[in-house]
């Protein structure tokens, strides 16, 4: 059974259906890809899963628990973490404090007792941010800022990690290191859901890929299956018979 699951999730804005009957899941220890052209509804789906957007229909479950009506904070307690397409870093804090504050929240809101500094250092080391730990987060390049968001999410010891275009703004070397990081995290048992425009990266990392177009899932399967699907090619490049 997938750890994170959406069941028939539909989101309508007025008469406009942004997400239509989407049922997908993310499993422990695997990276699941979610791709699709711009405006296909990927971010809306993410917002629904994380509680920033109420679905018109459908349910969201973590480990079989219905979380559809829960606040984002409660979902986080159940092990859900995410990063944002538009960076949402804490600009008045250093890189280290951006990560540490996630632990502060954990300590203040749960009974978990962690050695904050040691854990922060471990996460920084793991994500390769130790060298810039003391810098202002507003002064670092976008590519690394994306990694800070991942590090911050990891600090909450999540079970499911949703990544919204984490590779955009990264250089090729950064993307390579990032891919390695994600593979390692999945190997440790994390369920990762990846929305990404860098399709070669998605193809390389994901076991299963779902393709969203006009709010609906038009294909699901292995990278090869998705690549060869005529629907997917049409969705991305347009249909042959046009004009």
């Amino acid at each position: 059974m997938p750890l994170l699951e959406t069941q028939g999730v539909t989101v309508r804005f007025g008469g406009n259906t942004a997400v239509n009957q989407v049922s997908i899941g993310a499993e422990e220890g695997r990276i699941t890809g979610l791709i699709g052209p711009n405006g296909a509804g990927k971010t809306t789906l993410f917002n629904t899963v994380t509680g920033l957007q109420k679905p018109t229909e459908g349910r969201v479950l973590i480990d079989g628990v219905d979380i559809t009506g829960m606040s984002p904070a409660k979902r986080a307690k159940l092990g859900l973490a995410r990063t944002f397409q538009q960076l949402e870093l804490f600009l008045s804090l250093s890189v280290r404090d951006n990560v540490k504050v996630a632990g502060d929240i954990l300590r203040a809101t749960t009974r978990k007792r962690i050695d904050l500094d040691a854990e922060t250092d471990r996460i920084l080391e793991l994500t390769g941010l130790t060298d810039i730990a003391g810098r202002d987060v507003s002064d670092i390049p976008t590519g690394r800022a994306r990694v800070v968001e991942v590090a911050r999410a990891l600090m909450t010891s999540p079970r499911v990690l949703l990544l919204d275009e984490p590779a955009s703004g990264q250089t090729e070397q950064e993307t390579e290191a990032f891919a390695e990081l994600l593979t390692g995290l999945a190997a440790d048992g994390l369920a990762i859901c990846l929305v990404e425009h860098d399709l070669p990266l998605v193809m390389k990392l994901c076991a299963t890929i779902h393709v969203l177009d006009y709010g609906s899932i038009i294909a699901s399967g292995s990278p090869r299956e998705v690549q060869e699907s005529p629907e997917v090619i049409a969705a991305y490049i347009g249909t042959e018979e046009v004009a």
């Binding site: 994380t50 509680g51 920033l52 957007q53 606040s71 984002p72 904070a73 986080a76 307690k77 973490a81 995410r82 944002f84 538009q86 949402e88 870093l89 804490f90 600009l91 008045s92 804090l93 404090d97 540490k100 504050v101 996630a102 632990g103 502060d104 929240i105 954990l106 300590r107 203040a108 809101t109 749960t110 904050l116 202002d136 507003s138 002064d139 390049p141 976008t142 590519g143 690394r144 911050r152 999410a153 600090m155 909450t156 250089t171 950064e174």
Partner: protein, 754 residues
């Protein structure tokens, strides 16, 4: 029936004037994204000018109207947009709010400068107060009919403008997308300028119409706040649409009239309730209206605050205590008392540092929490009576805790609000408190208890006494207040460096991300609101006891807004900003104006000059506030940064310190007064960084240049062009002849070494 009709008409008349004011407000908000807190002050200024022309100088009414509504109003709007508002588009919400608040205060000060507030002025109704007609047995004055007619004409006129003219359609387009307007060849700034002109004229018109209806006497503060009642009407249309704002205005007017007509006149709250009605409605409408859902930080703000280290805060606290003590040696008892009052204000200001600077939440009514604590301590915290009376510790503790609880209760319905909406909700609360509590001078009987919240309109608050420490002595009071300030500041530094402080910063920077990490935002906001209210309460008790006797006015909206503005000018994210803002608003005005007046009395030949100087200081402070948009981090930090760059220039620092010491010694010896010393010392302190730059240019490290870090970023490959530019900057010959290694282009100048 006649009563009903009479009050219905009265309500509609008031409503129509609110509608005129509200439509102007909605207009400017939509086209420029700035909520104009100065709208009421613009109305006030225009009304005073109208009085000057028509009554003062005896110009014909039509000509005065034409000049004020047709020329002065639009011109004032255009100037405001051109000089101030136009530059605010991308600034943080706090800066936007503070700038218009500063404009409002500046206009109030200006009007008091031009039109001596002691002298009474009245504005009579158009056509005279006797000109009336009888409709269905009800006497209706022609002025009232005029108000209704004008409102109707404006409603129709605005409809025409928005649907039948291109400029009006373009104004509506601004709401959808300013960028798309530009792609169509229109200039959104020009559209905004036009609507500021129009909005300003509407404000002025509303002010002229409402003054005779509400009694006729012209008073700057009252008139400014009267038009602020229109905020509630504007909120009915979510600040977006004019027709609902008209409906809201009528509801507001009618409710007010019916309260006057039908509430039992022997009910002791009626009068105050009627006055508070617009603010109660404003609060309710804001809280009930559907809000934008939780989003990320939409505004990437320019201001950045350095985090104080605990050790530095402790050191600075001791330094402050030392300086204040040394300085007090120069002062007479009256001066020491005034400085003590300033410290009390600075403590209230610290509540804003925590709430706005650290947590990013707004409170436009900090003085209201000071008032709550004062009222509680007055009723429950006084030991002894007469000259022997003093405040006791349990009473103070009770008042502080109770204020925190009230702070939490007020914040609770407003917690999901952010930015402007939260600011307006606190403003409404402040006005409500002013009207309901601080004007509550009559006796009530409730469940067998007889009480008066604010007896006689004046509360006598004695000084605290804790065992052997008697704050009745001015110097003791000053030192204790300073120590308390330093302690709270230290506490804030500790807090800012703790997990709680980091969580506040996180919430301020990105509520969405903070919630996603598991933080319950409501709890966090509630806790910081309560803490902030407690600090304001403690400061308020000290302030009241420093003043000895306080009136409702001492805690009024104008006092709150002036404090907020000065703290932001000083630097909302810094303890030093709170010190500056508190001391300035607590004593600055009284001291400066008082000193100038004293000088004026002692030197009659220069009296006018000193009076002028006093007024210039008041208006000037507001002008500085208007500049906050350009320097959102605050001014005190600017000076501190100057000193940071002096670190290596030791001789300059030592020289400066020695100079101040000599000045101090001379003052102590009685060579000149404390005022002269203050001025001289301030000049030295302000000028030192610049002097250092001149004397020891090599030692003075440049403050880290932000512009260049964008140029050479480590995520970019080191390109040939970049190398060429570096070569050029270093004065090396270009490696490849002919390559354009010259003329750096606009916006990417290469900094040659100095």
């Amino acid at each position: 029936m006649t009563t009903f009709l009479t009050f219905t008409i009265l309500g509609l008349v008031l409503g129509s004037v609110y509608a005129i004011a509200a439509s102007g407000l909605v207009l400017t908000y939509n086209t420029s994204g700035i909520f104009n807190f100065a709208h009421g002050a613009q109305a006030m200024l225009g009304t005073f000018l109208y009085w000057q022309l028509s009554v003062g100088w005896g110009l014909p009414v039509w000509l005065s109207l034409l000049l004020v509504v047709g020329v002065f109003g639009p011109l004032m709007g255009l100037l405001l947009h051109k000089l101030i508002m136009g530059a605010l588009r991308d600034t943080a919400e706090v800066a936007k709010i503070v700038v218009t608040v500063a404009v409002m205060l500046g206009m109030v000060y200006l009007s008091q400068w031009i039109w001596d507030p002691v002298e009474p002025r009245t504005l009579t109704m158009f056509f005279g107060s006797d000109a009336s007609v009888e409709i269905a047995g009800v006497v209706v004055r022609l002025h009232e009919i005029l108000c209704l007619a004008v409102a109707l004409a404006i409603a129709l006129g605005l409809r025409m403008l928005f649907h039948r003219t291109r400029v009006g359609v373009v104004m509506r387009g601004t709401v959808d997308s300013p960028d798309l307007l530009r792609l169509n060849g229109h200039d959104p700034a020009r559209v905004a300028a036009i609507s500021w002109a129009l909005g300003s004229a509407l404000a002025v018109l509303a002010g002229i119409l409402i003054t005779p209806v509400s009694g006729g006497s012209l008073e700057a503060n009252a008139l400014t706040l009267l038009v602020i009642d229109a905020f509630a009407a504007a909120m009915f249309g979510r600040l977006r649409n004019i027709p609902p704002a008209f409906v809201g205005a009528m509801v507001l007017g009618l409710l007010g009239a019916y309260v006057t007509a039908y509430f039992p006149s022997d009910w002791t709250w009626t009068g105050n309730f009627r006055v508070s009605l617009p603010m109660i409605l404003l609060f309710i409408v804001i809280v009930v209206l559907p809000q934008d859902r939780l989003r990320g930080a939409a505004t990437r703000t320019r201001e950045r605050y350095r985090v104080p280290s605990v050790r530095a805060a402790a050191t600075w606290g001791l330094v402050l205590l030392g300086i204040v003590f040394l300085y007090s040696l120069l002062l007479a008892d009256s001066g020491i008392t005034t400085l003590g009052l300033g410290m009390a204000f600075a403590i209230i200001a610290l509540s804003l540092t925590l709430l706005t600077g650290y947590a990013g939440e707004m409170n436009l009514a900090p003085m209201s929490f000071a008032a709550i604590a004062t009222v509680i301590v007055f009723h429950f915290g006084i030991t002894g009576s007469g000259l022997d009376a003093s405040l006791n510790l349990p009473g103070i503790a009770l008042a502080v805790v109770a204020t925190a609880v009230v702070g939490g209760l007020v914040a609770l319905p407003a917690l999901r609000l952010r930015g402007l909406y939260l600011a307006l909700a606190t403003l409404a609360f402040g006005a409500l408190l002013s009207n309901m509590v601080l004007r509550d001078t009559v006796e009530h009987t409730l469940a067998g208890f007889t009480f008066t919240l604010f007896p006689d309109g004046t509360l006598i608050i004695p000084k605290p006494r804790f065992g052997p420490v008697d704050l009745g002595d001015p110097l003791t009071f000053l030192l204790v207040a300073t120590a308390l300030f330093a302690l709270i500041a230290l506490g804030l530094a500790v807090l800012r460096n703790s997990g709680y402080g980091r969580r506040l910063a996180a919430m301020k920077d990105s509520p969405a991300a903070t919630a996603m990490l598991g933080q319950n935002l409501v709890k966090l906001k509630l806790s910081v609101f309560m803490l902030s209210a407690a600090i304001a309460g403690l400061g308020g008790i000290l302030m009241s006891s420093a003043m000895g006797s306080v009136e409702g006015e001492s805690f009024g909206l104008m006092a709150s807004l002036a404090l907020v503005m000065l703290v932001v000018v000083g630097g909302i994210g810094y303890i030093s900003g709170a010190l500056f803002g508190g001391v300035m608003s607590g004593i600055g005005f009284t001291l400066l104006v008082g000193t100038f007046n004293d000088l004026a009395i002692s030197q009659p030949q220069a009296a006018t000059f000193f009076e002028l100087l006093g007024n210039v200081v008041m208006v000037g402070t507001a002008l500085v506030g208007m500049g906050v948009g350009k320097n959102p981090s605050g001014s005190v930090q600017g000076i501190m940064d100057g000193y940071r760059s002096l670190r290596e220039a030791r001789p300059v620092l030592i020289g400066g310190a020695a100079l101040v010491a000599v000045l101090y010694a001379l003052a102590l010896a009685g060579l000149y007064g404390s005022w002269t010393f203050t001025l001289l010392a301030l000049v030295v302190v302000m000028a030192l960084p610049a002097v250092g730059q001149k004397l020891m240019p090599h030692a003075v490290a440049p403050v880290e240049g932000h512009g260049h870090s964008d140029e050479i970023r480590d995520d970019e490959p080191f390109t040939d062009t970049l190398r060429d530019r570096l070569d050029l900057a270093l004065g090396l010959p270009a490696r490849v002849p002919g390559v354009r290694a010259a003329a750096p282009q606009k916006g990417e100048e290469v900094n040659a070494p100095a």
